[in-house]
Structures are given as C-alpha cells and as structure tokens.
C-alpha cells in the first residue's frame, strides 16, 4: 500500500510541448479574465483586469521557459484509471439526489476497490458494504445529516 514516491513510480515525462500547452491554458485564462473585466468596467473590473494581465504575462513567461522547465508527466494507460475514477464520481453526483446515497456509495466503493485498486472480490464486496453501513450509521444515524437517503 505504502508508496515511496520515487520518480520511477510516476509516468515518464512528456516533451516541452506539454509545458507549452500549460502556458497556453494560462494565457487563455488570463484573456478570459481580461475580457470579463473589460465588460465590468472600472471599479468591479479593475482587480480582475490586473489579475488577468498578470496571468497573461505569467503564461507568456512560462511559454518562454518551456524548454528549460521540467516537463509535465505524460498521460499513460495509468491515466485511464483517473478518467474512470472521475466518471464514477460524476455518476455518483448525478444519481445521489434521486436514489439516495446508499446504493451509489456501495457502487463507487466497489468499483474503486475491485477495478481501480484490483482488490479481491471478497475484499471489495466486504469493504464497500462495510463502508456504506458505517457511513449510514455515522451520517444518518449519529449526525443526522440531511443527505438524501433511500432507507
């Protein structure tokens, strides 16, 4: 379980193009801030304008340094795990209000354990059910939180 986060554990670096992409995102964010700020006008728009200009300048700086800076990590097949994880969570959010949190919680825990974590079937089922029961006892039973629940 424990990880010693040595670099070898991480995906390999991407090329300097990765840095350029990051820089572009920053410039675009700055441009967005500037556009928004200019429609707001002086007063409410002044500060976002300053921040927007700073972002554009920083983005250009990052672009200029893209060859020297450490490159980002590459996206590997391992990154698909992250995509899957996010998809499961997105599903969780969309159904929780209609069917309550219990079933989505079991499913999310199970998918993360069995398919993302490659735990055994037995562990996956036991931990996901156990977690859900514990959460139910804690949030609904003990804390009486207003979370949507089925039972």
């Amino acid at each position: 379980m424990t990880t010693e986060p040595l670099e070898e554990d991480r995906p390999p670096p991407a090329g300097p193009a990765g840095n350029l992409i990051a820089a572009t995102v920053v410039v675009l964010l700055g441009a967005l801030a500037i556009t928004g700020a200019s429609t707001l006008g002086e007063g409410p728009g002044t500060w976002p304008m300053i921040v927007g200009i700073a972002l554009v300048l920083l983005g250009l700086g990052l672009a200029a340094r893209s060859r020297h800076d450490d490159p980002p990590e590459r996206f590997t097949r391992g990154s698909l795990l992250v995509v899957a994880a996010v998809a499961v969570m997105a599903g969780y959010v969309t159904v929780i209000t209609t069917i309550g949190f219990e079933i989505p919680t079991v499913l999310l825990a199970f998918v993360w354990l069995r398919f993302l974590g490659r735990e055994t079937w037995r562990t996956s089922i036991a931990v996901s059910l156990g977690t859900t029961v514990a959460f139910y006892a804690l949030f609904v039973g003990a804390l009486n939180v207003t979370i949507p629940h089925l039972f």
């Binding site: 990880t3 010693e4 554990d9 800076d69």
Partner: protein, 593 residues
C-alpha cells in the same frame, strides 16, 4: 496574563481535550501514511468542524498539523519512506540508525526533540504573537495590501515546481477569488449567470478538491509497493550519550524551526532541511552524517515541530497564512465566523489562547502516545492505499455535500480534484493557488480601499512608513532571485560553490547547485502534502536518492534496496501476501529496476 490562564481553562474542558486528542491521533495517522498530507486531511475534515465550537474546531485541526510532524518520522526511520515531506531528511540518518538496530533510539530522540522543539516554540509563540498583533493593530488597508502580496510572493518563491509556476498558480487563485458578487458594487463577476456562483466560490470545495481529491487521483497513477511491517522496535529510550550528543542539535533545531516557521513559505519542510544542513556543517566529523548520526535525526525532527507551531504566528496575529496548511485553517476560521487578524487576541482571547495552549497539551499527548503506540501505527501501514482511497473519496464527496446541502458543491469538488490532478501532472503546486484564493478577497478589498484613500494614486503605498518598508521587502523578494540568476549566468564556474554557501537548505553535496535548487524547491513546498507529494514525488525523491548516494556505505543500490527488497520477500508471510499490495492500479507503468 489572566487571558493566558483562561486559555488553559478552555483547553481543559473535556470536549476540547477530546478533540485535541482526536486531532493529534489523526495527525499521527496521516503522518504515518504516505499519501495524504496535513493540508489535504484538514481540507477533507473541514465539514466535520462545522458543528463544533470555533475553539474546538481549530484545536483539532492544529493537532492534525503538528501531529503529522510526529507521525512522519516513524516511517522515515523504520521503512525509509518519509510519510511527510518534512521528514525527508530524517531518512538519511534515521534509517541508517534503524539498520544498526537502533531504530528505538532514533524514534525516541525524534519524539523528545519534537516535544522540546514544539514546546519551546509555543512559549515563544505565546510571547511573540500578541506583540506582533499589537503592532499590526495600526495596519490599514495599504499595509494589508502589501502584506498579502508579500505573503503570496514569499510562498511562491520557495514553492516546489519553480517560481513561475507557483506565481501562476497564485494568480489563478486570485482570479478564482473574484468570482461572485463584487463587495463594493454588487456587480456579478464571472458567475456565468449561475445562481450557485453568485456568492462566490466556496473555500471548502476548492480546498477539498485541490488538496484532497487531487491528491488521491494523482496517487491512482502511481505504482504501489508492498510494505512489510518492520522489525520489532526495542529500547525506545535513547541512551544518556545519545541525549548528550543531541542536546545541541535540539536547541539549534528549535531556534531554526521557530524562525523559519514564522516566515511565509518557510514552515516545517524548509526548516527540517536547514536544521539538518546546519548540524552537518557544524559537526566535527560531518562524514558521520548519513551513517547514523543521532543529531541528524534530532535536528530536523525538532525543527519541523517547532516550525509547525510557529507558523501559527502570522495566521493568528496578522491574519496572513504562512503556508498551505495554514491557508486551510484560515478558511476553517472564516467558516466559523472568525476573521483571523490582529484583533483576534483582544476580541476572541478564549480562541487565541485556547488554541495556543492546546498545543502544550497536544505535545504532551504526542510524547505519551508516540512511543508506546508505535506498534499500532506501524500496523496501520498495512492498510492498503487501494482500500483507503475509495473511503477517503466518499468522505470527501459526502462531506462536501453536508456543508451547504448542495450537490453543486460535490460537482465543484470533483472539478477542482481534476484541476489539482492536472496541476500536479504539469508540475504546478496547488498550494499557492489555495493560499492566494484565501487571501484574494482581502487583497482586493484592501487594494481598492487603499486606492480610495490615496485618490487613486498608487505611490501612496510608498509614502506610508510600514507599507513602504513592506513594499521594499516585496521588491527585494522579486529582485534578489533575479539578480542571483544573472550573477550565476555571468560566472557559470563559480555557481556551485556560491549556491552552496548562499543557501541554508543544503543537505546535499556542496557544489551541486542543481541539487541545492531542488532541495530548496521541495523545502518551500510547505506543509501541504498537496505540495508535499510533489516535493517527494520529484524533488524529494531526488533528495532521498541523493541521500542514499551519500549514505553510501558502500553500495547505494544495496542501500536503496535494503529498504524495499525485504519488503517484498518478507512480505510473503505477512498479511500483505494474500492480496499482493504491490498489485498496482497501474501495472502498466514501467516496471521499476
């Protein structure tokens, strides 16, 4: 003085004692478990604190923070795995001692050093914080503007991933803080017509997403390796000789930790490295370091605890968080309806002194628990990350919901989790972003008030004495590194030595300028594992392997494997074998070694 004593009365209330205990236990746990750092943990637990009194909430959160400094040591010494970024340097001598069968002495001295460093730092905090606060009572909007800018700049300067990236993250954080209704004109800004955004982005989902979920997603890609329970630790009490040998290191570590902890961006990581470097430089036989010098454990462990404590000074006396974890605690205070600042001591003395004094109790609790409970914490290491991750995720998502009973907030957590993950992939530390987000509205409000005060003439910042001095400091922070870079370019040959001498953070070989830079980088990364992860993942690991290189004792590769190979072989026979914990979520990532 009576306020200080009243503070003790606050701490000794059973509820507060209980939450202090809960806080330090959680802190030790996450310190032991590499994966989530204190910033992430505190962010995830923010919703839990809502139902609590402000004092109780902050006592618990503070306990998590300094408790984590204790816990991080255990895995550094026993397994050569720094549980926290601030324990990276402890690995060098701590693990060497463990290999000589003296793990107990290393852990004992670390616990004692932590206790002394923490306690001395609280005493100093008790004396210094009210003075700083009294001085800062005269601060007006211009001073706060420059102070906030200075804080962000300092944090960015020593952050991991480089200054440009940290500043970019900070600017993005400032931008996020502008979303919502403008305080002055009620104009809606960047809300995209979304009602949920009209009141601005909430701090909790941002912190939970960037630190908590981002961290978990980032770790999903990582290969996980089996860890076996280490040999039994015997003889936890250090010998009298060890104590004598460490006493100087503990004293100096306390001072370094206290001073560096106050500085924005300083904090536990940087001070542990600086303290180690100092001991090594002072030593009559520096070659002992890396081979099991007890001072090499005592100094950094004392310093990181002292720093964890003193980093509360800027927060509690100025209202400026000095690092990522403090930013989260700042957010927690705001949620409780308490605005940290110079008036905190006078307006909420029970909170101020309650929190400060709880640290005495917390440190005693840690000292009492850390040694007898060692076995328990080591056993906890057997819980696999693949099992912990979904549970943590669910706590995060459900917790985010409970804050405002809003599904939108869960969505925000996920969105910021993805952002945090991408930032880490690209080498951006999310710490400055959260810090800048927290300071964003303070900064904007003070800036606009100042400009009103100065009739829109920005030179007004220079003519007021305090803001002028702060502004000069601000410029120095920007210009000094620039000048350094220029000088280095002009004298490429002298770089190594110059860098080695000009820096305090250099446990690495003198002359290895690259190494220095990386160390400094990982140092600044602060407490947040948000950053710590990065620090370890890249810079820190550089450190560890360098250290091993120096530790040398003949074969570095042997040394590096010692920590791990048995991990695999002995693991057969332990619980881990049944479900090979090495069973990685990402097996496709290239096999190591």
């Amino acid at each position: 003085m009576s306020a200080v004593i009243d503070g003790f009365a606050v701490v000794l209330e059973p509820t507060n004692l209980l939450y202090c205990l809960i806080g330090v236990v959680i802190g030790m746990l996450i310190g032991v478990l590499p994966g989530l750092g204190p910033a992430a943990t505190i962010a995830i637990l923010l919703p839990v604190t809502f139902g609590l009194e402000p004092v109780t909430a902050i006592i618990m959160l503070a306990g998590i923070f300094y408790g984590a400094q204790y816990g991080g040591t255990i895995t550094s010494v026993l397994l050569r795995l720094p549980g926290e970024a601030s324990s990276v340097v402890t690995v060098f001598d701590g693990h060497a001692l463990a290999r000589q069968g003296r793990a107990g002495a290393a852990l004992g001295i670390a616990a004692i050093g932590s206790f002394i460093g923490g306690t001395l730092s609280i005493v100093a905090l008790t004396l210094v914080a009210p003075i700083v606060a009294g001085f800062a009572l005269d601060f007006g909007p211009p001073e706060y503007t420059v102070l906030a800018l200075l804080g962000i700049m300092l944090v960015a300067t020593i952050s991991s991933g480089g200054r440009w990236r940290a500043l970019t993250a900070a600017a993005a954080g400032l931008f996020l803080a502008t979303v919502g209704r403008d305080d002055f004109t009620s104009a809606e800004r960047f809300t995209l017509g979304n009602l949920s955004l009209a009141d601005g982005l909430d701090f909790v989902p941002i912190a939970m997403g960037l630190f908590g979920l981002g961290e978990i997603l980032y770790n999903l890609e990582q290969r996980h390796r089996a860890v076996h329970a280490p040999a039994k630790v015997t003889d936890v009490w250090p010998s009298r000789g060890d104590l004598r040998q460490s006493s100087g290191a503990i004293t100096r570590g306390s001072i370094i930790g206290f001073v560096l902890g106050i500085l924005p961006g300083g904090g536990a990581v940087l001070s542990s490295m600086a303290a180690y470097a100092l001991e090594k430089r002072r030593a009559r036989h520096p070659e002992r370091f890396g081979k099991g010098a007890i001072e090499g454990v005592a100094a950094p462990e004392t310093a990181n605890n002292a720093a964890a404590t003193s980093s509360f000074i800027p927060l509690l006396s100025l209202g400026i968080p000095a690092n990522a974890t403090m930013a989260v605690i700042f957010g927690a205070l705001l949620i409780q309806g308490v605005t940290p600042g110079p008036q905190l001591v006078t307006e909420h003395p029970e909170l101020f002194w309650g929190v400060v004094n709880s640290m005495y109790i917390g440190n005693v609790l840690l000292l009492i628990m850390s040694i007898p409970l060692l076995g328990v914490f080591v056993r906890i290491l057997r819980v696999r990350a693949t099992v912990l991750a979904p549970i943590t995720v669910l706590i995060t998502l459900i917790g985010a919901y409970t804050v405002n009973n809003s599904v939108f907030d869960i969505g925000l957590v996920i969105a910021f989790g993805v952002l945090g993950y991408l930032m880490k992939k690209a080498g951006f530390d999310p710490g400055p972003m959260v810090l800048a987000f927290v300071l964003g509205s303070l900064l904007e409000t003070s800036l606009r008030r100042s400009l009103l005060l100065f009739d829109n003439n920005p030179t007004g910042f220079l003519t007021r004495p305090i803001s002028g001095v702060l502004f000069a400091l601000f410029l120095a922070v920007i210009l000094l590194p620039l000048a350094q870079t220029l000088l280095r370019r002009r004298r490429p040959l002298a770089t190594g030595d110059a860098a080695a001498q000009s820096r305090t953070t250099e446990p690495a070989h003198p002359g290895d300028a690259g190494g220095q830079d990386r160390l400094a980088g990982s140092g600044g990364s602060g407490e947040g594992r948000g950053q710590g992860r990065r620090a370890e993942g890249h810079t820190g690991s550089g450190t560890a392997s360098e250290a091993a290189g120096r530790t040398g004792s003949g074969t570095e590769s042997g040394g590096s494997e010692d920590g791990r190979r048995p991990a695999r072989s002995t693991a057969s026979g332990s619980v881990d074998e049944a479900h090979p914990a090495a069973g990685p979520p990402a097996t496709d990532i290239k096999e190591k070694e």
